[in-house]
C-alpha cells in the first residue's frame, strides 16, 4: 500500500477522528530513512495508548513503529498481554488471535503474503511479551525459527506476566518473589538470545530502549535480514514499573541500571556471516547511491 491509498472520502472528512485526518495528512508511510527522530514532528503510527503512565513498553512501541523500514507494507502479529492493549491504536494492519500462537500465525501470514505478492516485499513483524514468546508460545517461537520462516520476532521482556498482575515468567530472574513464585523463582532466566541463535536466527539482539538510535538500528537490521535471509529475534527490556515498585519517571533509569557490561541486558548481537555480508553490501549500496546523488548535484530540497 502506498501513501496515496490512504485517503478520506471528502464527504466524510469532517466526521473522521482528528488523529485519522492527521494520519492521512502527515503519516510517514513511504518516507525514506524514517526513524525515531520523526517522533513528534510527523504523524506517528501509534496515537494514544492505554498503558500505565511512564511505561517503558509504550516508548519501546513508539521506537519500534517509527523504525519499521516499510510500514506501508508491514503487517504485525501480536499476542495477548499489555501489547494487545496498544495494537488497536496502531496504524499498520495487525493481528491478535490467541495467546502464544503469534509465531504460528506469522508463519502462515508471511507465506500467504509471499504467495499473493510474489514481486513485492511484505514484512511481517511479531511483537509479543515474554510470557507469550518464551512460556506458552515457546514451541511455536522455536519451530518458526527451525523452519526458517522469514519474519522478525520481537519480545518485549518485562520479566513477568504484567497484564495478569505480576506472575513469574520464564524470563523472570532467579530468586525473585512474584505471584506464583511465593518462594522466589527456582530457576534461571531463560537464555532466549542464545536459544534463538542456536535455533537458526540469522540475527539476534538483546537491548533496552534507553538509546533510541540503537533500537532503530537493531530493528531495521532485523526486518531487512528477515526479509532476505531468515528469522530474526530482538529481545527488549521493557520493565514493568508497576510490578517492580518504581515510579512513572523511573523507567529510563531502571533500563540504564540493567544494561551495564555485566548486566543481563548488556547489549549483545549475534549475526550470521551471511547476514553480516548482506548488511555490509547494503551499506555499500547506500554509500554509492549517496555519492551518486552528490555527483548529480540535485538542488537542495528536491528529493
Amino acid at each position: 500500500m502506498g501513501k496515496n491509498n490512504l485517503k478520506i472520502c471528502s464527504d466524510l472528512e469532517d466526521i473522521m477522528p482528528p488523529e485519522y485526518r492527521e494520519l492521512v495528512a502527515s503519516a510517514t508511510y513511504g518516507k525514506e530513512n524514517r526513524g525515531w527522530k520523526d517522533i513528534g514532528s510527523a504523524k506517528e503510527l501509534i496515537e494514544e495508548h492505554s498503558l500505565c503512565a511512564g511505561c517503558p513498553e509504550a516508548i519501546a512501541f513508539r521506537y519500534v513503529l517509527a523504525s519499521l523500514p516499510n510500514p506501508e507494507d508491514t503487517v504485525m502479529v501480536g499476542s495477548t498481554g499489555c501489547t494487545s492493549l496498544v495494537f488497536p491504536h496502531v496504524a499498520v494492519h495487525n493481528i491478535h488471535s490467541l495467546f502464544g500462537n503469534q509465531n504460528a500465525v506469522a508463519s502462515g501470514l508471511k507465506r500467504a503474503l509471499k504467495l499473493r505478492f510474489p514481486d513485492r516485499e511484505k514484512d511481517v513483524v511479531v511483537l509479543a511479551g515474554d510470557g507469550a514468546t518464551v512460556d506458552i508460545g515457546l514451541d511455536m517461537t522455536l519451530q518458526a525459527w527451525f523452519r526458517q520462516e522469514k519474519f522478525t520476532t520481537i519480545c518485549f521482556d518485562n520479566e513477568l506476566y504484567a497484564n495478569t498482575g505480576g506472575q513469574e515468567s520464564g524470563l523472570t530472574q532467579k530468586g525473585f518473589v512474584m505471584k506464583m513464585a511465593p518462594q522466589g523463582k527456582q530457576f534461571n532466566k531463560v537464555r532466549m538470545p542464545e536459544i534463538a541463535r542456536e535455533s537458526g536466527c540469522a540475527y539476534v539482539a538483546i537491548l533496552t530502549v534507553s538509546k533510541p538510535n540503537l533500537v532503530e538500528r537493531v530493528l531495521k537490521n532485523a526486518v531487512l535480514i528477515a526479509r532476505t535471509i531468515g528469522p530474526t529475534y530482538i529481545q527488549i527490556y521493557t520493565p514493568c514499573i508497576l510490578e517492580i515498585g518504581k515510579q512513572s519517571m523511573e523507567g529510563l533509569q531502571e533500563m540504564r541500571d540493567a544494561e551495564g557490561p555485566n548486566d543481563r541486558f548488556a547489549f549483545r548481537e549475534f549475526i550470521t556471516d551471511e547476514a553480516k555480508a548482506f548488511l555490509a553490501d547494503m551499506d555499500e549500496k547506500k554509500k554509492a547511491a549517496a555519492a551518486a546523488k552528490i555527483g548529480t548535484a540535485a538542488p537542495a530540497g528536491v528529493k
Binding site: N5, V86, P88, G108, R111
Partner: protein, 402 residues
C-alpha cells in the same frame, strides 16, 4: 488482486486447469467414475479447489490425506504446504494464512481436533473461511484410533459451519462446495467437513469426479466482510479504547453483538447449503411411522437395518442430516411430524445428535437416543433393527398398561 495470474472465469492456471463457475463444476461438468479411498478423494477434491496454502500434521486416520495434499503442492496444484509442529500451531498457521488472504485447507482427527480447539472459535470470530476436513476418531483416553463422532459435539457451538458426509462421493462434493459456501461475503466463516474416520477415509468406493482440467475460481479476499491483513487497504484504528479488559457497557455490547453476528452468519449460510447440497437433509420414506434420523455412516447402517426390517414387514423411513450447522430445524420438524418413533443411531457415547434432535422437534418423547456405539465399535444393522423392535414392543406394552 495482486499476483501474476489471470484469475477470471475462463482463464487457465499454470497447471492447465480452466477456471470455471462453481455451479458448472458442481452440477454440469462431465464426470467419470473411479474406484478410490476417501483419502484419495481428498487429494482429488483439493486438486480442483485452487487452494493457496495447506498445513499438515500426522494423526491417524487423516495422515494419508494430509500427505497426499503435500503431493499436490509438489505437483503445483497447491501454492504452499508444510508440516506444522502440532494441531494448535497448525490451526494458527492456517489462521495466519487466511488473515493474509489465502484459501486454506487442512485436516485433523480426534485428539488433534481437541488440541487445536482454541483456534476454532477464533477462526469464526475473525471470519476466516478455512476449510477443515475432520476425519473423526475416538478421543483418548485410553488410546484409541477408531472412528467415533464425539469430537463433532465439541465443534457445535464454535460458530463454524459443520457438514457431515456419508460417503467418499459426498466428501468430494462437500469439499468443493464447502469453500464456496464458507467464502460467501454474507457468511465468511470456517467450515468443518466431517467424515467418519476409516469407514470413509480408508475404504474404497465408486466415485464420480469432474475432470482434472477444470477448477474452482480463486478466493477473493477483498469480498471479505472484514479487512484482509495485507496492508493493501488503509489500516483503521479500530477503536480509541481497546475493548479487551474494559469493564464497560460498550465493550460488553460489542462482544455480544459480534457473537450474535457470527451466529447470524451461520444462519445466512442456510440458503447456500440448501442450494449446493440439494437440501440440508435427505429423506427416504419419511412418511413411515418409524424413522431413523442421523448423519454420516450411522445412516448407512440404518439403511441396512431398514432392509432387514422390511423383510419382517416393518416399514421404517430414513432422514439423513447433511448440514449440522446450520441445523435443519424446519426440515426436521416437517420430515418427522408424522413419525411415532424416531431412532438416532450414533457412533459416540454421548448421543449428542439425539440431543440436538430432541431440542428441535415437538413431542420429543418420540426420540430414542440410540443405538449408539463408541470407541470404534462397529454398529451392525442387526443391533439397530433389534433396538427398533425392542422399543416397539415396550411402547406397545406401555399403551396396553397405560
Amino acid at each position: 488482486m495482486a499476483g501474476n495470474n489471470n484469475r477470471s472465469i475462463g482463464a487457465v492456471n499454470k497447471k492447465g486447469q480452466k477456471i470455471v463457475e462453481p455451479e458448472y463444476l458442481f452440477f454440469e461438468a462431465p464426470r467419470q467414475e473411479f474406484f478410490m479411498t476417501g483419502s484419495e478423494i481428498v487429494k482429488e477434491a483439493i486438486r480442483r479447489a485452487s487452494v493457496d496454502i495447506s498445513v499438515a500434521y500426522p494423526i491417524t486416520p487423516q495422515s494419508e490425506a494430509a500427505a497426499l495434499v503435500g503431493e499436490l503442492w509438489t505437483e503445483g496444484y497447491v501454492g504452499d504446504y508444510f508440516r506444522g509442529e502440532n494441531e494448535f500451531a497448525v490451526m494458527s498457521q492456517c489462521a495466519g494464512a487466511s488473515f493474509g488472504g489465502a484459501r486454506v485447507f487442512t485436516t485433523t482427527s480426534g485428539p488433534g481436533t481437541l488440541r487445536a480447539f482454541e483456534n476454532f472459535p477464533m477462526w469464526s470470530g475473525a471470519r476466516l473461511p478455512i476449510l477443515i476436513n475432520v476425519m473423526v476418531r475416538g478421543v483418548n483416553s485410553p488410546l484409541n484410533i477408531q472412528p467415533d463422532t464425539l469430537e463433532m459435539a465439541f465443534l457445535l457451538d464454535t460458530g463454524m459451519l459443520i457438514w457431515h458426509a456419508e460417503t467418499a462421493q459426498e466428501l468430494f462434493d462437500m469439499l468443493l462446495k464447502g469453500f464456496i459456501v464458507a467464502e460467501q461475503p454474507d457468511v465468511h466463516l470456517p467450515i468443518a467437513v466431517c467424515i467418519d474416520g476409516f469407514f470413509v477415509s480408508h475404504t474404497k468406493e465408486m466415485v464420480s469426479l469432474t475432470g482434472t482440467d477444470i477448477c474452482l475460481p480463486h478466493y477473493d479476499p477483498y469480498r471479505s466482510p472484514v479487512p484482509c491483513m495485507d496492508m493493501e487497504a488503509p489500516p483503521m484504528r479500530m477503536m480509541r479504547d481497546p475493548f479487551v479488559m474494559k469493564s464497560n457497557y460498550i465493550s460488553y455490547a460489542t462482544h455480544a453483538s459480534w457473537q450474535q453476528e457470527v451466529r447470524g452468519a451461520v444462519e445466512r449460510a442456510r440458503k447456500y447449503s440448501v442450494r449446493y447440497l440439494g437440501g440440508m437433509i435427505e429423506e427416504e420414506n419419511s412418511d413411515a411411522d418409524i424413522l431413523i434420523v442421523s448423519s454420516g455412516t450411522a445412516v448407512a447402517q440404518g439403511r441396512e437395518a431398514v432392509r432387514l426390517l422390511a423383510e419382517e414387514g416393518i416399514k421404517v423411513g430414513i432422514v439423513r442430516i447433511k448440514s449440522i450447522r446450520p441445523f435443519p430445524t424446519e426440515e426436521l420438524r416437517q420430515a418427522t411430524k408424522n413419525a411415532r418413533l424416531i431412532f438416532v443411531p450414533e457412533f459416540n457415547v454421548s448421543g449428542w445428535m439425539a440431543r440436538e434432535i430432541k431440542s428441535t422437534i415437538d413431542r420429543n418423547h418420540r426420540v430414542i437416543a440410540g443405538p449408539h456405539v463408541a470407541g470404534g465399535m462397529t454398529m451392525p444393522p442387526e443391533i439397530i433393527a433389534e433396538e427398533i423392535k425392542k422399543v416397539m414392543h415396550l411402547r406397545k406394552k406401555e399403551l396396553v398398561h397405560g
